[in-house]
């Protein structure tokens, strides 16, 4: 039986695990966007905070993923369910590209444009929403894209703590020394990453300021 026959035969399970995987990646990315973009905006305007925030996000990024899952296990409420833990860990990993790209994107807006806007009486809020964010949007989106691609890969490891997702196949395959099972997890995961990368890349190009 080759890998494709296996996937067709077990399509229920492949689909279920893929959806679980998407759920983990989707929710964690959403959370990371909700936290990372405001943080990026904040450090772009308060340079004092720049170093501590970016350094913290950097440090989180360097923690090996399996270790991070382990560290988070004792947390109350979160530790009760593996998917909560996995989402938290994935969110933390996705923060760095989001914060950094939001920061870079906003700092990259032509100072003459910002100054003109300010000189004409735009409030800080109007400047942010009408000028800075729209002009930084493609850089921010490329951060989202990096975050999603990293998350799709990392989420496979979440199966190690029982959070589900396509990693289930991979870990089962590893335990049973069954390459087919490993591929049944790896191929859809790779496809997801490629799909996310191209579609977000396309969106990024569409939104790039002319």
């Amino acid at each position: 039986m080759n890998i494709f026959q296996f996937m067709v035969q077990n399509h229920d399970q492949v689909l279920e695990l893929t959806l679980e995987h998407l759920w983990l990646v989707g929710i964690s990315t959403l959370l990371a966007v909700l936290i990372g973009i405001p943080l990026g905006v904040l450090i772009a305007h308060w340079p004092v905070l720049n170093k501590p925030v970016l350094a913290s996000a950097n440090i989180i990024q360097t923690i090996p993923s399996l270790a991070l899952f382990g560290f988070l296990l004792p947390l109350p409420w979160l530790g009760e369910r593996a998917d909560r833990l996995a989402i938290l860990a994935l969110t933390l990993y996705a923060l760095l590209p989001l914060i950094r790209n939001t920061y870079t994107g906003i700092r990259g807006v032509d100072p003459a444009v910002v100054e003109a806007g300010r000189g004409m009486g735009l409030t800080d809020r109007q400047l942010l929403f009408q000028v800075e964010l729209p002009l930084a949007v493609s850089v921010i989106l490329s951060g989202v894209r990096v975050a999603v691609v990293i998350s799709v890969g990392l989420a496979t490891i979440a199966a190690a703590i029982g959070a589900g997702g396509l990693g289930e196949f991979i870990f089962r395959g590893l335990a049973m020394v069954n390459n087919q099972l490993i591929l049944a997890g790896a191929i859809p995961a790779a496809a997801l990453a490629l799909f996310a990368d191209t579609s977000l890349g396309w969106l990024e190009k569409r939104l790039r300021p002319r």
């Binding site: 032509d110 003459a112 444009v113 100054e115 003109a116 806007g117 300010r118 000189g119 004409m120 009486g121 735009l122 409030t123 109007q126 009408q130 000028v131 729209p134 002009l135 300021p209 002319r210």
Partner: protein, 260 residues
């Protein structure tokens, strides 16, 4: 422009000093008055403090000492957003929003001031006509325009909410000489109709003498003198004479080369 038809002081600087965040004294003890309806030119070299002076008017910068008054009220005491919206602002790189069409750029201040859409559209059309922008350009983006066209949009945008006061920071500085000449001529015509109070920053003596009702010469953060253009050429002040000499040098040199 006839200054006697207008009276009153629009802008007043009283012993204004400005020290930059890096501790450098950019302006010291500046006193000047800009009269209503005149084109007041700030002339000086780069670093002489003319742009800083301009930014003190709409409070993009705040004085370290002294007071800036606009229409009799100290700018430090008024709402900064309202102050800026009541003053038109044009800068050299224009600062047009690259992601806004010409139409949206011009209508920016009316829109944030909450005007009705039809009124904004009407105003944008009126202004485009006033500054000589073809209607077909309305839906273009700034990068699709020539330098001269961008500058016209910049002027139209500054005039959008009909401010009595206009600040212009080397608005024609990056244009080629012919386009600059054309825009200077149109500026004069426009000013004949609108009688705005204009503070105009430039380092170009010819531009200063052509456009200004009065020319204020600045050097190293100080005001050297304020003169009408016709007085400027006759002035005995060494700084003024140096500017006039530099201005004439090119023409004289060309004239003295003769023909081969």
């Amino acid at each position: 422009m006839d200054r006697s038809s207008t009276n009153g002081v629009a802008i007043e600087f009283r012993d204004v000093s400005y020290v930059s965040p890096t501790g450098q004294e950019v302006l010291s003890g500046l006193n000047l008055e800009v009269l209503r309806g005149e084109t007041f030119v700030l002339l000086g070299r780069s670093g002489s403090g003319k742009t800083t002076t301009l930014k003190l008017v709409n409070r993009l910068l705040s004085p370290s000492a002294g007071e800036v008054r606009v229409d009799g009220a100290a700018t430090a005491g008024v709402d900064v957003i309202a102050l800026r919206r009541s003053i038109g602002y044009v800068i050299q790189d224009v600062g047009l929003f690259p992601h806004f069409t010409v139409e949206r750029n011009i209508g920016l201040v009316p829109r944030i001031e909450g005007w009705a859409e039809d009124r904004i559209r009407e105003r944008v059309q009126e202004l485009s006509q006033l500054v000589g922008l073809e209607p077909r350009l309305a839906s273009r983006y700034p990068r699709q325009l020539s330098g001269g066209q961008r500058q016209r949009v910049g002027v139209a945008r500054a005039l959008a909410a009909d401010p009595a006061l206009l600040l212009m920071d080397e608005p024609f500085g990056s244009l080629d000489p012919l386009t600059r000449d054309e825009l200077q001529r149109e500026f004069l015509l426009l000013q004949q109709r609108l009688h705005k109070t204009v503070v105009f920053v430039t380092h170009d003596v010819g531009e200063a003498l052509r456009l200004g009702s009065r020319v204020a010469l600045m050097e190293a953060g100080r005001l050297v003198t304020v003169l009408a253009p016709q007085e400027f050429l006759r002035s005995g002040d060494p700084w003024v004479a140096a500017y006039v000499k530099a201005f004439k040098a090119g023409l004289d040199s060309a004239a003295n080369r003769g023909t081969e």
